[in-house]
């Protein structure tokens, strides 16, 4: 079709399996799917730019290479760390398959650090213990403090080896489904950034692996590109999102910047101190201290600051002290994060402690799936042909708080499972017909924003959104703060209706791209806050000062949020709930 001023050129493709996103989960899925069915990977970046590459500390698996360990202890830690909101069947799968997941990566060439015997080395990490909490265990397999980088590179290398087909800088903007109550996946619509043209990809299976939405917060370890597109697309198609109130704040972000400093720093012996030099975690978690689960450490840090024991001109942060560690250990095990401290804060970690404060890091919630990676349209029914894996998904192996290293594990275990399931599904069905004018809604959205002269700027709305989220929906929440955030978001959504872009061109229009991303961010921020408001308890990453205790009677259940379209065409959020799967562990109080 010829291109003119009003009509985008359109292209059509057909595959068996489409994978949306080329981080760890997407590429792990592609490796499985590519061997079984005709597969394409669509990514709005280049594959090696994905944020898996920023993960640092490691990937836990009970290899028992350096001390006694087994996957059942790992499962217990995962369930307990998630404050018992974890679906235990899923956690068992993840921790049992963790061992092969690590060995698979090693066989693909991942350069793990080694023990003196030449085996994969392992180190301690927050919340990982032996014998159900007896003491910290060395379970994390790692490559210095760039484990995620090595995973991303290794998976990309293997994709090249297998000639996996990539569509780089193709931004997926819609999911195609057949009509009717038993609707199934028919493909996706993608926007080619380089040309501004629209591509319809028909397929039998689609795997979403688009990562998280950390950019709803101002202080975040997440990349600029983590705008929750996959979750937003699925939600707008009427499918639920699970446990959106549970968002993890990583304790050690570089103060003021949010750049991640791995928990490995504390695994290697680093200590958190307040303005008095006190190792304050001894008061909050007497047994495992600085290696307590992330939600506890983040709250403890925030509490030190608000009680006036913060450091710096505004007493706004605490300190991560590595000065007692040998330089050789820092250089060998923590080279990247110490360089971040030098580059961005001008701090020499050999001699000075590093200013740190919690940073928005990881969405425990997301697109609900079963343990094969199949997406659910309600509490029990799967959507034929639709899969999700990694941070975009909620299996739920992280419950209300993810343990460190379990995300790199999650992407490998469930990326693999989703890739297999998606390919096997594709081999059993015929290609569904797409709906009429499949690209119509996407073209209308893009052209609407491009043509708008409303005058509201993307950056101004986004900054206001991030500010209210940091202020009102962070580690401490109350009914008042959440209602404030909800009101603010409503106002911002109204302003978003008048958003306009300065770049009206086709080619590489990142101005337009950011406007589209902001729409997803607004949807997801509202979902997070609405889900948090309804959860009148404190559990894991969700802490309500007005309901400071866990309430298993009323809230041992997953939140399921649906987009409900009212008779006047407006959309509201409808909240429902789903039972937690419990197999062998009864909820206990989480002490450290």
């Amino acid at each position: 079709m010829a291109e003119d001023d009003t009509t985008l050129a359109r292209h059509a493709h057909i595959f068996d399996v489409l994978i949306v996103g080329a981080g760890g989960a997407g590429m792990r899925a592609a490796l499985e799917s590519g061997d079984r069915a005709r597969t394409a990977v669509l990514t709005k970046l280049y594959p090696t730019r994905s944020h898996t590459g920023a993960a640092q500390g490691g990937m836990c698996a009970a290899l028992a290479n350096v001390e006694d360990d087994n996957w059942e202890w790992h499962t217990f830690d995962t369930v307990k760390g998630g404050d018992y909101l974890v679906d235990q069947d899923a956690a068992e799968v993840m921790c049992r398959e963790a061992i092969d997941a690590v060995l698979d990566l090693e066989k693909m060439g991942l350069p793990f650090n080694r023990t003196p015997e030449g085996r994969i080395d392992q180190r301690r990490f927050g919340g990982h213990t032996r014998k159900h909490g007896e003491a910290a265990v060395r379970r994390s397999c790692f490559a210095a403090d760039r484990t995620g980088h090595m995973i991303l590179q290794t998976l990309y290398q293997q994709c090249l080896r297998r000639n996996i087909e990539f569509f780089d800088e193709y931004y997926v903007l819609d999911l195609l489904m057949t009509d009717g109550p038993d609707s199934q996946v028919a493909g996706v619509i993608a926007y080619d950034l380089a040309t501004g043209e629209i591509h319809t990809f028909r397929a039998k299976s689609v795997v979403f692996a688009t990562g998280g939405f950390g950019k709803v917060f101002r202080t975040t370890s997440n990349a600029h590109t983590l705008t929750g597109d996959g979750m937003g697309i699925v939600y707008r198609r009427g499918l639920p999102l699970e446990d959106m109130e549970f968002y993890q704040f990583h304790p050690t972000g570089l103060a003021g910047l949010g750049v991640l400093l791995s928990e490995a720093a504390r695994g290697e012996g680093g200590i958190l101190r307040n303005a008095d030099g006190e190792r304050f975690m001894e008061r909050y978690a007497p047994t495992i201290k600085d290696l307590a689960p992330r939600d506890m450490v983040a709250r403890a840090m925030a509490n030190e600051v608000r009680e006036g024991r913060g450091v710096g001109p505004d007493k706004a942060y605490v300190l991560l002290d590595l000065t007692h560690l040998p330089k050789e250990q820092i250089d060998a095990k923590l080279p990247d994060i110490t360089e971040f401290a030098r580059t961005y804060l001008g701090v020499e970690p050999y001699d000075e402690p590093i200013p740190v404060f919690p940073t928005a890091h990881y969405a425990m919630g997301g697109i609900p799936t079963d343990i094969t990676g199949q997406v659910l349209r309600d509490n029990t029914t799967a959507v034929p042909g639709l899969y999700a894996a990694g941070e975009v998904a909620c299996v739920s192996v992280h419950g209300s708080n993810r343990l460190g290293t379990n995300s790199l594990l999650d992407i490998n275990v469930f990326g693999k499972r989703a890739g297999i399931a998606a390919a096997e599904h594709a081999l059993t069905v015929t290609l569904p017909d797409p709906p009429e004018d499949p690209a119509g809604p996407v073209v209308a959205m893009l052209e609407g924003i491009r043509a708008s002269e409303g005058g509201e700027r993307v950056a101004a709305i986004r900054a206001a959104l991030q500010e209210t989220m940091d202020l009102n929906a962070q580690v401490y929440r109350t009914e008042g703060s959440l209602k404030q955030a909800l009101g603010d978001i409503e106002g911002l959504r109204e302003r978003y209706g008048r958003v306009s872009v300065q770049d009206k061109g086709r080619r590489f229009n990142t101005d337009l791209l950011e406007a589209v991303e902001l729409g997803f961010l607004i949807d997801l921020a509202e979902l997070l806050v609405a889900s948090a408001l309804a959860r009148q308890e404190s559990r894991g990453g969700h802490f309500r000062e007005d309901y400071p205790h866990r309430d298993d009677v009323n809230f041992m259940r997953h939140t399921m949020a649906y987009r409900q379209v009212e008779s006047d065409g407006s959309a509201t959020i409808r909240l429902d709930y789903k039972p937690v799967v419990q197999t062998r562990y009864q909820p206990m109080e989480r002490k450290c």
Binding site: Y46, G109, P111, A223, T343
Partner: protein, 232 residues
């Protein structure tokens, strides 16, 4: 403080030739050049186009030529370059410019793909991990740090002037496997690098080593590959 950024602009949709445009922006000395670019894009001119993602030097999206040197915009602080003079920002050289600071990365990735950048093994797979001594692991550590940002390749004068040479990054990518004790593809990979347009085109100018934001000793890696070819 106020700084001036002088940026090489080019949108082939609307103009035939690139041109320079200056912007004055208010920044903190500790801001990254990327922050200054964002301020321009978000507050002044939404058409300014560049790639970026992680914003802390690990994803490799925002390699650009800043004051004549290849760097990552997110790893270059304003205070670390002379902010009293205009800061020039251009796309990395040697790859076709698509728009402003965005270049076509395909020739770069094609060169990477050509050197078999993946582990090649033979024999039976062990049930557990392959063993590797700590010193064998250390042997290729430096080149595992590569983030494929293209800062090295697009700083190489041979690459600029020779349409065939596959550039320093591809050699780094090959080095990472040639010196991995687990790999069995070394001979084949070395043959690729021994090509007329291969490793011998390197003139040892060290631009690549200077440009690498990850501190990889790129020139040294290239010399090690040359030596491996001579002594194979």
């Amino acid at each position: 403080m106020d700084v001036t950024l002088t940026i090489r602009r080019f949108n082939p949709e609307t103009v035939d030739e690139p041109s320079w445009q200056s912007f004055e922006v208010s920044v903190q000395p500790t801001d990254r050049v990327l922050d200054a670019l964002h301020t321009i894009k978000w507050e002044v001119d939404g058409t300014l186009t560049f790639r970026r993602s992680c914003a802390h030097g690990v994803c490799g999206s925002d390699a650009m030529r800043i004051n004549g040197r290849n760097r990552l915009a997110c790893k270059t602080l304003v205070k670390d370059i002379d902010p009293t003079k205009p800061i020039t920002v251009e796309p990395i050289k040697g790859l076709p410019v698509l728009k402003d600071l965005v270049v076509d990365m395909e020739p770069f990735f094609a060169a990477y793909r050509s050197v078999m950048p993946f582990l090649v093994t033979d024999g039976h797979e062990p049930t557990r991990e392959r063993l590797q001594s700590q010193s064998d692991r250390e042997r290729f550590d430096d080149t595992t740090k590569c983030i494929l940002c293209a800062a090295c390749t697009t700083s190489c004068p041979v690459y600029w002037n020779d349409g065939q040479y596959f550039g320093p990054q591809a050699i780094v990518g090959a080095h990472r496997f040639i010196f991995d004790s687990r790999d069995a593809g070394g001979a084949e990979r070395l043959e690729i690098l021994n090509d007329r347009e291969g490793v011998w085109r390197c003139r040892t100018t060290f631009n690549c080593t200077d440009a690498c934001p990850r501190g990889i000793e790129v020139t040294k890696a290239i010399q090690e590959v040359k030596r491996a070819l001579i002594f194979r």
